[in-house]
């Protein structure tokens, strides 16, 4: 202890004359730092209501509630997160994980109110003074808790692809599948968009857990064509995927395929449920496409004896005859069909209803009939010269390719149309060594074909001619009957009516022509309903059977009730919708046969 110890403390007095450290609020406002984690903001238009914020919130501070003026729709639950600030700890994990990136935080420090209930609100829906604040916590550049990039699918190179009919998409390895499955947040937004309402989060979880039997069981709850749908499904689910709102959607289709690919057919029975005891009832199904066989599967699970009548020599419908083997190899399809047949479903191949057996006889011999005959009739170009021998129809070309027949397309091929049949026909022609032009009446973005299909067709070398209005087909001058001139008019897209899609309008004088060895028309397809007589009592409107919500067309006296579904009936006209229709009809038929809900 020295003298300094008595004097030094008085040094504090020098501070008496200094400016105080404190801030005089509200005179000297001190805003939060730019990154400050204040109250939440939500871009309610970008938010898809997936609830991942709720899932990560360790405080249980987030509820998903219906938001005024927002309805549930594809890819949006219509719900929005409500934050309870009695629980929130401002950790902002919700912001970090938000798939769409709609959540953020303002840098507002202060919010005082006497009513505790106001501290529970739906950001972005209930207006707050800090809405739209440019400052506040955002997840940092390059920092996300979820992976926005899809695990790339190994595929054949384009050059290699067009040289063969080998399957293009190779499928995920276990590590790839599990990594991709890990991207899913199990929000279930996809389920509503799937026509069959498959338990997508459930089977993706099975992939993560490595439990293929459980995965297969979940697939078969709603879809007995996992190998086929795992390859060629139109995957509306992926358009609805919440991860897609801020990155690549989860590869739901490929994960489905992965599960089915992992289990050998001989092991299916171990994983899948056994059918009910025989009911003694018999059901006839017309058409062994995905819809008919889906109905057959679920009916046979209910114990009914099912006979499927198929006009073609092989089962599978459009999956076999409409989709080329490089997209859906026959062994994969055979596996799906093989399992259904193994349950005792009988498929009478090469039997055409209306020709070999009348529908009325089915109504007499069976307890119920399901019509799932699809759209086998190709519509014509409807231009002068459409009967030219070198004008082929796309569906027929694909079917002949399936049967292994010589196509004889020649070296230059035109494909008319922008749907999946057109793309498949074009790519089949490419694989037969042809040079292919795809002519479409509208623009590429208007094409009804899957974007992937269009992209791949182009990558494989097809030339796309947009805005080409077919005018006429003529004999090629020097090769009558052997080659043809396709004449089209270049068009410009005109917005003629507000709210409707633009109309291709011919540009006067811009008439073009091309010489082709084959012209494949793929403008659309229709049903063949010639087997339904008026006396069958099946109501038909504009070439579609009229059915109720279970697919029932008639239960008129004089025969068994008739149900119908698939492309024949629905608007979506894809395999998964046909499968869903088949499942629904199976439920309807089962209820009827057991007198339930009758």
């Amino acid at each position: 202890m020295d003298i300094k110890d008595f004097i030094a403390p008085f040094a504090v007095w020098k501070r008496a004359f200094e400016k105080p450290f404190t801030v005089k609020k509200p005179i000297d406002e001190r805003p939060g730092a730019p990154r400050y984690r204040g109250f939440h903001m939500n871009d309610a238009d970008a938010c898809v209501g997936c609830g991942t914020c709720e899932a990560i919130c360790m405080n249980n501070a987030i509820d998903l509630v219906p938001a005024a003026g927002r309805e549930a729709k594809d890819g949006d639950s219509g719900l929005r997160p409500r934050i309870d600030y009695g629980r929130c700890c401002w950790c902002a994990l919700c912001v970090d994980i938000c798939p769409s990136g709609s959540l953020s935080m303002s840098n507002e420090y202060v919010w005082i109110d006497r009513d505790p209930d106001v501290f529970r609100y739906v950001p972005g829906v209930e207006a707050k003074p800090w809405d739209g604040s440019a400052l506040g916590y955002r997840r940092a550049e390059g920092y996300r808790l979820l992976d926005e990039d899809r695990v790339p699918m190994p595929e054949l190179g384009h050059a290699e692809a067009v040289a063969s009919f080998l399957e293009l998409v190779r499928g995920y390895s276990r590590a790839q599948a599990e990594k991709e499955a890990d991207r899913c947040v199990s929000c279930g937004l996809c389920i509503a968009s799937c026509p069959a309402h498959m338990d997508i989060p459930g089977y993706i979880k099975a992939v993560r857990d490595g439990d293929m039997d459980e995965g297969l069981r979940l697939l078969y709850e709603t879809n007995p064509f996992p190998e086929a749908c795992g390859r060629v499904c139109t995957h509306r689910c992926e358009e609805a995927c919440s991860i897609g709102s801020g990155g690549d959607p989860v590869a739901i289709r490929w994960l489905k395929r992965y599960i089915a690919d992992q289990v050998e057919l001989s092991d299916y029975a171990k994983a899948l449920p056994r059918g009910a005891a025989p009911s003694g009832k018999k059901v006839a199904i017309v058409g062994a496409g995905p819809g008919g066989l889906s109905a057959a599967y679920y009916l046979s699970m209910q114990g009914h004896a099912v006979t499927v009548f198929e006009a073609e020599e092989a089962a599978g419908g459009m999956l076999r005859y409409g989709i080329p083997e490089y997209r859906l190899p026959y062994p994969a399809l055979d596996k799906d069909i093989g399992y259904i047949e193994s349950l005792g479903v009988s498929i009478s191949r090469g039997v055409s209803i209306g020709k070999d057996i009348e529908l009325s006889k089915l109504r007499t011999d069976f307890d119920a009939v399901y019509l799932s005959t699809g759209l086998p009739v190709a519509y014509g170009l409807e231009v002068p010269g459409e009967d030219h021998p070198r004008v082929l129809d796309g569906v027929a070309v694909l079917a002949r390719a399936t049967r292994g027949e010589e196509l004889g397309l020649g070296g230059r091929v035109a494909v008319i149309g922008g749907g999946n049949v057109a793309m498949d026909a074009a790519r089949t022609a490419l694989r037969h060594g042809a040079t292919v032009d795809i002519l479409y009446r509208r623009r590429e973005e208007d094409m009804p074909a899957d974007a992937d299909e269009v992209r791949e067709a182009k990558a494989e070398g097809a030339r796309l001619v947009e805005k080409a209005i077919p005018l006429e087909v003529r004999d090629a001058p020097d090769a009558a009957g052997e080659a043809a001139l396709f004449i089209w008019n270049e068009a410009t897209m005109v917005q003629k009516e507000p709210g409707k899609r633009p109309v291709p309008e011919p540009i006067p004088g811009a008439v073009r022509e091309g010489r082709y060895d084959s012209i494949i028309a793929a403008i659309g397809q229709g049903p063949d309903l010639s087997f339904i007589a008026e006396s069958d009592g099946v109501p038909v409107k504009r070439f579609r059977p009229v059915v109720d919500s279970f697919g029932m067309a008639t239960r008129a006296a004089g025969g068994a009730p008739v149900f119908a579904g698939g492309d024949l009936v629905n608007d979506r006209k894809d395999a998964i919708s046909a499968i869903a229709d088949g499942h629904r009809a199976a439920i309807g038929i089962d209820r009827l046969l057991y007198g339930k809900g009758a």
């Binding site: 008595f6 030094a8 403390p9 040094a11 400050y36 899932a55 401002w90 902002a92 890990d182 947040v185």
Partner: protein, 387 residues
């Protein structure tokens, strides 16, 4: 020599005062917040104004963190752990993240290593600044707290800018950190360090050259060197007793092996010595922060990508990760059973021994008026006892 005379080594055995005799006074200190030491209470038995026996009572800040963690996903525990220690939350974040990374085999990017080190040293400075206000306040010197808490707030301003939070930063996330430094941040760090350093000089002058502080703190709470191992004493409490242990040096985690510093060691092992040593560690923290600002990489990623946090499973195993916090050895013991939630998380806080076993013994023979100052001199913090 004078200080040596003041040293008292309290007996290991508890006194057994006959409370019915009427000679003793039983009094409780706490559980109100007695200054900087958090909610904890001491049941003191005094003879006159001298404490003869003490029982510590903890639990007022028990929130069941370890239990809560067992039912939360690994990532969900990230915002939870910091709350175990208000004045110094970042060590929880670091130990927890490092334990998970070790179990999951994740190597964090270089920049994250440096930003974590920066964050921990800034935290050390802020924590000591709060502590020194408490230490001075416990001896009646309120002015120091006004200065030091302001300095702490300046450091918290830096945290707010870097992390978006003042108290709970939630910045050291498994895999790295949550963001890069904002533009101009390092400049503001250096400016703030200069201000803090100048204020530390003032504090040094008026607090450590102060007859009152010396008279009360010298000799108070003397910890003999051989207690260090016996009681598991760590941090400044051990170093002031001449034991040169500092996990930053000894374990060499984060960027510490590349920083130039030496553990500060004392000899006198009393309240004054410990305060003096902690002041030295504040200057040391400022020096380390300057080194970090100088050496931290300016480019590169700040976080390693982890699996989806909703399903993140960590391979079965266990580990114990510790770090040198202001009070000593802070550690997380994490046991994984391979699921998506920890099987067991145990938090080792230095106060566990400092505030209970050591405190109960040291307080014997101390004047009632010095109990608070003694407790602060051990830099105790109850939540890390109770978790």
């Amino acid at each position: 020599m004078r200080r040596e005379k003041q040293r008292v080594i309290p007996p290991a055995e508890r006194a057994t005062p006959d409370l019915d005799s009427g000679k003793y006074l039983v009094m409780w200190q706490g559980p109100q917040h007695p200054g900087i030491t958090g909610n904890m209470s001491l049941r003191l038995v005094a003879e006159g104004d001298t404490v003869v026996d003490c029982e510590t009572h903890v639990g007022y800040l028990h929130r069941g963190f370890e239990k809560l963690m067992e039912r939360r996903l690994y990532m969900q525990n990230f915002p939870l752990v910091c709350r175990i220690a208000v004045p110094e939350p970042d060590f929880n974040e670091y130990c927890y993240a490092a334990a998970l990374e070790e179990l999951a085999g994740i190597v964090i990017p270089e920049k994250a290593v440096w930003l974590r080190t920066l964050s921990l040293e800034m935290m050390r400075l802020a924590s000591f600044l709060m502590w020194i206000g408490g230490q001075a306040g416990a001896f009646g010197h309120g002015t120091i707290a006004q200065w030091s808490v302001t300095m702490r707030d300046y450091v918290l301003d830096l945290f707010e800018e870097l992390t978006g939070g003042r108290i709970y930063h939630m910045y050291i996330i498994p895999g790295g950190v949550r963001g890069d430094v904002p533009a101009g941040f390092y400049k503001r760090v250096l400016e703030t360090m200069a201000v803090v350093e100048k204020n530390l000089d003032d504090i040094e002058l008026v607090m450590f050259h102060n007859a009152v502080f010396k008279m009360r703190a010298e000799g108070l709470g003397y910890i003999p060197r051989d207690w260090v191992d016996h009681y598991g004493i760590t941090g400044p409490n051990a170093r002031a007793a001449g034991v040169a242990r500092d996990l930053r040096k000894d374990s060499g985690y984060l960027a510490y092996p590349r920083l130039d510093f030496q553990p500060i060691v004392g000899t006198e092992s009393d309240a004054y010595e410990r305060a003096r040593l902690r002041l030295g560690e504040m200057y040391q923290a400022i020096d380390l922060i300057r080194q970090i600002v100088d050496m931290a990489p300016k480019d590169g990623p700040f976080r390693e990508r982890l699996p989806n946090p909703l399903y993140w499973r960590i391979p079965a195993g266990e580990t114990y990760v510790s770090a040198e916090c202001t009070r000593g050895e802070y550690g997380f013991y994490v046991v994984s059973d391979g699921s998506d939630k920890p099987r067991r998380v145990a938090v080792r806080g230095p106060s566990y021994t400092h505030a209970v076993s050591v405190m109960e013994r040291l307080v014997r023979g101390v004047n009632i008026a010095d109990v608070a100052g003694l407790m602060v001199s051990l830099h105790t913090y109850p939540p890390e006892i109770e978790r």
